[in-house]
Each structure stands twice: as structure tokens, then as C-alpha cells.
Subunit: 174 residues, 2 copies
């Protein structure tokens, strides 16, 4: 029996080594922290009334606006809350610009600004008109009224723009 | 008594009109949906090895990259995961550029690109080198290796840039 044991252990280890990576899945597939998720909470909401578009922050976040008037433009990060369903968040490809436009090729959502995507973060560049207390008055935004806002970041051209950036034909102006 | 009644009702209505907004709280303080929060899950992670920076997506999200090579630049949205504590997420003002620089004025985080903010969404404009399977090779990104990535959106200059955007003195190049 002793000789059989000496044979079994190395064979076992060899088997584990050979089948290990395949048993674990595609080596290129990074599946670390499978259950990782993060929570985001609205800092405010988009309001539209009397022809004005404002971002109204929860009062407690008002200190975060100090100095914002030093910038002419901001990126507003909001949540596509009307699309917050498992099906819409499972969307990975669409005919874009606008979604459903069959004249444009099937495209991955990460290559579009699709409102259907795994994480429903939207971003719009807005021109600031004024900042007062907890309210940022902007020229306009392509979001519905009462849309939750997640963040505001100032637009800094040298960080955020690329001279001569290229885009595909279906986004070029006709 | 009739004359008294005529006096009481309008006075009552006037009183309600005057104190109503105050009784309801600050009219400017939008506290709807106090418990609202949204979940975001990584679509992949930033990897840095051998001088290369890549965004490696979970295999299931690979279809979302279809057509991305049609763009020269993308915005990568990632999570400041090393700052995911209640204290750091409660940060509303810093001396910016970089955080802690006392030569620059105390500024609201929404007027900075501070990595300490209520919702830890970061954004970096990256130049695409190549797209292969579930891997986007970019020129570089100001994030640590193994940082979770939440989204990728293509950079479209006419959406994302503002000619002559203005910034405050502490961000101007010296």
C-alpha cells in the first residue's frame, strides 16, 4: 500500500496543476471581488421651471459649492433613474444616435452615450449662469426634471479635452 | 358675528400663506427621497504592468466594447476606492490642487477634482492605443492599479468641450 500512496499523491498534485487554470475559468477574465458594489446617493436633483434649469443640492452639500463661480462650465453627473431596471442595465449593444437608429451600426454601449448601460451614470457639460446658496443655475441639461444628481465637477479644458480627437462616421455632423 | 367671520377667514388664510413655507422647512432645501441610493458595480479594473496601462473588463461586458476603436479618446469613470470611508465621503471643502495645498483657497469639492467627495466617482480622459477582446489599452491613467472601473464613454468634442471655458487662478498654469 505504501508504494500506491507514493504514486497517488504526486499524480493528484499533477492533476490539480494541469486542470487548475481551466477549472478556474479564462485566465484573461478578471473576476476578482465578484460581489463588489458601491453605493451612490443623490447630492441633489435637477429642477426645471419657468424656463430655468437648476441643480438644487441637499442643503447639507451647499459647502461643496464654494468657489464654483470661478468656473464657466461644469460636468454634471446624474443617474438615468428611469432606466434603473435589470433589463436596461444589462444592455450592452445598441444601434446608437439616437438609440434604435437602424441606420447606424450595432455598437457597444461603452462606445456610445447610451442611456441603457450597466451603471447608469450620465454626464453633461453645462454652462453655469449663477451659483446661489445650494442652487446652481445652468443654461440647460439633457435630463428630465427631478433627475438625481450624483456629482458636479468643474470643466478644466487641459484635463478634459483632446485636440483633434476622432469619432466614427455615425457621430459626425451631417 | 358675521363681520368677525369675514375678518377671521381671510386672516387665517393669510397666516397659512405666510407661515406655510417656513413650516414646511426651507423652501430651497429639496429633501425628497431622503433614503434614495443607487448601486454601481465594477465593469472591470485598471491594470498596470510592463509599462502598459489597460482596462480589463469582466468577460461578460466585452460586447460593450464593440466599435470603440472608432474613437481616439474615452472618458474612463472609476471609483476612488481607497477613499471609501464615511469620513472621506463627508469631505465638502479642501485646499485644492493638490489636496492640502494651503497656497490655494478653501474650495468646495464640487469646484475641484478632489478624490474626497460624497460620491467617489472619478473621471479621466484617456487616449486609446488598442481594443482587444475585453481589454482596452490606454496611454495612461491617474489611478492606482486594481482600481475598479464603473463605465467607459467615448469622448465627443462637441458634447464635452467648451471653447474659451474659464477656470480660477489656482488652476491656471504657472
Amino acid at each position: 500500500m505504501k508504494s500506491a500512496s507514493l504514486f497517488v499523491l504526486p499524480t493528484f498534485l499533477l492533476g490539480v496543476w494541469c486542470i487548475g487554470p481551466a477549472a478556474a475559468g479564462d485566465a484573461d477574465d478578471v473576476e476578482q471581488k465578484m460581489t463588489e458594489q458601491f453605493n451612490v446617493r443623490p447630492i441633489g436633483w435637477i429642477k426645471k421651471a419657468d424656463g430655468r434649469t437648476t441643480i438644487v443640492l441637499k442643503k447639507k452639500y451647499q459647502p461643496g459649492l464654494l468657489g464654483l463661480e470661478g468656473f464657466s462650465h461644469v460636468y454634471v453627473y446624474w443617474w438615468f433613474d428611469r432606466n434603473d431596471t435589470p433589463t436596461k442595465r444589462a444592455t450592452l449593444q445598441i444601434h446608437p444616435s439616437p438609440p434604435g437608429n437602424m441606420k447606424h451600426p450595432l455598437t457597444g454601449v461603452f462606445a456610445t452615450r447610451s442611456p441603457f448601460r450597466p451603471n447608469l451614470i450620465a454626464m453633461t457639460l453645462c454652462k453655469i449662469i449663477s451659483v446661489n446658496n445650494n442652487v446652481v443655475h445652468v443654461e440647460g441639461i439633457d435630463a428630465f426634471a427631478d433627475t438625481p444628481v450624483l456629482d458636479i465637477k468643474p470643466h478644466v479644458p487641459r484635463f478634459d479635452t483632446a485636440p483633434n480627437a476622432t469619432i466614427p462616421w455615425w457621430l459626425k455632423r451631417k
